[in-house]
Symmetry: C2
Subunit: 145 residues, 2 copies
DNA sequence: ATGTCAATTCGTCAGGTGACGAAATAAAGG
DNA sequence: CCTTTATTTCGTCACCTGACGAATTGACAT
């Protein structure tokens, strides 16, 4: 019931990118590389956002082999996290960006972590994070610089 | 149901000073000078915060003679404002700063806008915004920068 | 143990945010 | 009309934040 945990949660959910992450996680847990592929921002950026969301008690992580999976939490010590996650379930479902993200998430789920990481943490057609030479030539994937 | 109004409300309620304002307004409407006296920040600072809160649909203003009174709103077009105000009613009531503000608010209410404005928009013992010469000598009120 | 590779941390930079004091605005009253 | 004065707006500054790329970490496979 103190100001600090309140502020942590509110600042966390006030950022558009972090809401996008929370909204795509409503469909179930996702690997970091999948989140990167959907949101299409640098891995360091996404990693920072995930850290802040976890610090606020909004998400939790689970390690499986090489991959780290994140999912919604809200059951931790922070009393505000659960309420805000519940609110968010009802909110923003009509937002065009959220809808678009949801489509991309479905795609990312079908591909799976392995394919996405091998594809440079990008969805087909998206910009890759790691420009691997890739045996076959990818038409419009990698954009240097 | 779009991201913009959501962001407006969340960013508004994520700032500690603005939460303090919302929490003291839970007791009913207050004049700007009373809010300044309770929060003890510069008038321009408070004015900016009030503007942001009003833009988010969290508070509304009412003019009476020389004074502008603010009160909680949440009934406007922004669907997130009402929910967050309802949440805030239950939240942070045990926070020491919020409690302290509440005491100061009671004091400010009892004094009324006129006395507070004449006292330099400060509670007795607080720093004044306007250093008026004041016919009688005030012991520890005015603190020149 | 050693290389690989997903993920995190570090260093940096542009832009946003909150604070202040000074100046402008607008309503009340002489 | 002109002063007074409560409030807002403007200009400035330090600090926080979100983005990036590069370097580092740490688990897995060989």
């Amino acid at each position: 019931m103190s100001l600090r945990p309140y502020e942590d949660v509110m600042k966390a959910v006030a950022d558009p990118t972090r809401v996008r992450i929370l909204k795509i996680l409503e469909g179930g847990e996702l690997c970091v590389c999948q989140i990167i592929a959907v949101i299409a921002l640098g891995q360091s950026t996404i990693s920072k956002h995930l850290f802040l969301l976890r610090s606020a008690g909004l998400i939790k992580d689970r390690r499986d082999k090489k991959w780290v999976h994140y999912s919604l939490d809200g059951k931790g010590g922070n009393p505000y996290a659960g309420t805000m996650l519940r609110n968010l379930r009802k909110w923003l479902n009509d937002d065009p960006l959220v809808r678009k993200d949801r489509e991309r998430t479905t795609l990312a789920r079908n591909l799976g972590p392995v394919a996405i990481c091998e594809g440079g943490m990008a969805l087909p057609g998206g910009k890759t994070v790691r420009c691997r030479p890739a045996s076959g030539g990818e038409a419009s994937a990698a954009r240097p610089g």
